[in-house]
């Protein structure tokens, strides 16, 4: 499944398009990481735990989006866009959406 965040797959032609597909997931880190992050807030710098958390979530959202694209028979998703928002204190929602197309 090809993905691109441009309006077409470079070097290929869009033949058909099937509609918008979305993938989303909600994740949180466990309470121990939160406490450590609280300490890290004092000194500053990268919050490794949260970086990992959001990376995993983004990957899962992308996977789900591609699964939806697969279910309509597409072989590529173009114009992929991401969105992040906090759903509750300590939990983040990641969603990805794009247009499922057939390219040749």
């Amino acid at each position: 499944m090809l993905c691109s965040n441009t309006e077409e797959i470079p070097g290929q032609q869009i033949v058909e398009f099937y509609g918008v597909v979305t993938g989303s997931t909600v994740r949180s880190k466990h309470v121990g990481r939160d406490i450590l992050a609280g300490f890290k807030n004092l000194v500053g710098g990268e919050l490794k735990g949260y970086t990992e958390l959001l990376q995993e979530a983004r990957k899962e959202a992308l996977d789900r989006m591609m699964e939806q694209a697969h279910s309509v028979g597409a072989n590529a998703v173009v114009n992929v866009r991401f969105g992040t928002s906090s759903v509750a204190q300590g939990a983040a929602e990641l969603f990805a959406y794009g247009t499922a197309v057939k390219v040749e």
Partner: protein
């Protein structure tokens, strides 16, 4: 390019779950963990508190002592002296004590006694009023001495602070009793409090036996407020700070029988009810 609108599989973004089993598993699992954490904290406190030197406690007493003196009723000095004499008599049977005990009397409408850090015992006027014998008072005072022996007041304080700290570190401030974790903390502290009360009872009984030769009069205190426990005994037992009176009485009886200490015997009259002309002895 051609448009061919199709409906995608809409279940990819949902995880099929059975909500009720999941909720139960999580709730039970987390409660078990919480109880484990709190019990570990309480055991740690029990281990470390005996290491705290008495000097620090004595400093706290000075501060409280001044405050308490303002609530002593008129004519109370005589009562305080007699109580302190009784305490000293009982304490001679606890030779390695390091405390200097002091007694204060405060006005209140329910019978009670407290042990405060540094060797300070507070007794309410109502307790003195309803005590029918010296032995009865001796049991209450001996019970408080038992708390000092085990340093229970410090343990309760330590538990309170550390429990609140544990809750705060996961984002729930002090006073959050209405959730799983606050509730677990409360249950654990009540369990440990009941153990402490039991140990204090036994210490008090021991002192009484050494001093009087019997433990007669120890149960008279409970005879006064047994009417308060109208609820089923087992629930009050588990959930209350003090074991329900009926259970406590039974435990005292059993312990006395085990040790071979007679529960019946001569009772010395309470000095506070001796009929004398001087009114200042009976507080109003």
């Amino acid at each position: 390019m051609k448009a061919d609108p199709r409906e995608p599989d809409d279940s990819v973004n949902l995880t099929p779950t059975h909500w009720l089993p999941e909720a139960t598993t999580l709730a039970v699992g987390l409660t078990v963990v919480a109880l484990g954490v709190f019990t570990t904290i309480a055991l740690l406190v029990n281990l470390l508190v005996p290491l705290i030197p008495l000097r620090i406690e004595a400093q706290v007493t000075e501060a409280i002592w001044a405050e308490v003196q303002e609530h002593v009723p008129d004519g109370g000095e005589e009562i305080v002296k007699r109580l302190e004499t009784l305490v000293d008599q009982l304490a001679t049977h606890w030779p390695d004590r390091e405390y200097d005990f002091r007694v204060a009397v405060v006005e209140a409408d329910h019978p009670n006694a407290f042990a405060l850090p540094g060797g300070l015992i507070i007794v309410t006027t109502d307790l003195i009023r309803i005590a029918e014998s010296e032995n009865e008072l001796a049991f209450v005072l001996g019970h408080e001495l038992g708390h000092f022996h085990n340093r229970d007041h410090l343990k309760a304080l330590g538990r309170g602070i550390l429990f609140d700290l544990a809750l705060a570190s996961i984002g729930m401030g002090p006073g959050s009793m209405s959730n799983l974790f606050g509730g677990s903390g409360l249950l654990t502290s009540r369990r440990f409090n009941r153990r402490q009360e039991r140990a204090a009872d036994r210490f008090g009984l021991g002192l009484m036996y050494e001093h009087y030769g019997t433990v007669a009069g120890s149960l008279d205190f409970f005879g006064h407020d047994l009417s308060a426990t109208g609820i089923s005994e087992t629930i009050a037992d588990f959930a209350g700070t003090h074991p329900g009176s009926a259970t406590r009485i039974q435990e005292i009886r059993d312990f006395a029988d085990e040790q071979g200490w007679p529960l019946n015997g001569e009772l010395l009259p309470s000095v506070f009810q001796a009929p004398t002309v001087s009114d200042s002895k009976v507080p109003e």
